[in-house]
Amino acid sequence: MKYNKLKMTACAAAALACLPLLQANAHHSIAGEFDQEVTIQLKGVLTAFDWANPHLWYYFDVTNANGQVEKWQCTTGTNPNRLLRAGWKKEDLVIGSVVVFDNANPARDSSNTCYTPNIALEDGTRIFSGRREQ
């Protein structure tokens, strides 16, 4: 079974422990809901997102090869509590932004739903990931 590795920030001082900035979903087994043998790439315009527990959800419009707009929803598995501690605020992500989900796993129910450890803006900037740079 695949699961994400723990990522650690750099320690501020030897006396302080590294704060684990988890990217795996500790709430439940990802593989139970998403097919981790398949990866897809998605890019679209963010229309809304849920800043709520147990984990964030993002809603975005993807224009497919036929020019049709598909409604998608994806989760990155983290939650507001961890993001707040990492310095992030809900206002850091703007509705209308172009968002990119790399290496996303589609839901097993074949709906337009995915899981990915990371969300990025169109210029490659990781958002809601790691510690927020001041």
Binding site: L6, L19, A26, H27, S29, G32, P54, N81, L84, S111
Partner: protein
Amino acid sequence: MKFCKAKLAGALLLAFTFAAHAANDVPRLSNGKPDLNGIWARPYVPDMARSNDRNQFGPGELPFSALGRENFENYNASEGDYTGSCMPFGLMRAMNSPDPIQFMQTDTHFALLYEQNTWFKVINLDGEDHDPGIPTWFGSTVADWEGDTLVLTTSNFNGKTRLDTLGHPHSHKLTVIEKYTRRDATTMDYEVTVDDPIYYTEPFTNRRVFTLQEDFELIEYSCEENNKSLFEGRINPPDYDNWHNYDPADYE
């Protein structure tokens, strides 16, 4: 010979000095017991068998019994996910969570406040068995001190959870022995031994290090408030009729 003795004496003195220094770094309550109070960061342990050579150390291979191996190999979270359904995680799954935990310790009680799903557990430190007479998700705990180590022995589980995210099983006959040893001002050793005579042939131990987070406050965490996966049917509660591959009546 005199030189060797001098070096040995110096080394011993240095070791004693470090030990004394470390011991002096451990804050204590007025009753003399180590103070375990505070909010602690913990490593996420999705697999109790593994180690990361940093802050969690597992046994490598779990000593499955035939029943345990069969249960684990047949476990499929897509067929029923209790944590995904926001049901109680149970003791081990809750201790394996990456979210902070707050310990509140008095002379008489030790409370564990889990940020994950905003659960809590209160343990009486009188050394007595406070088994309520019904099996529970988090079990019934008897507390004791071994020197400066708080030892919590928990049993009487309802058997409706698993040990970790990977799904290592446990039966209703599970006993968990946890040892909390505050190492110094900012760290605590946590050692847990899993003793399950149905699914494992012998006890196994997992160790990890907790780190004090003085600038943290616990934040409410509602698992249910936006569990889209459950609401939209991609996650289902477990089929508890087929959770175990043994008859409890055979182990009474």
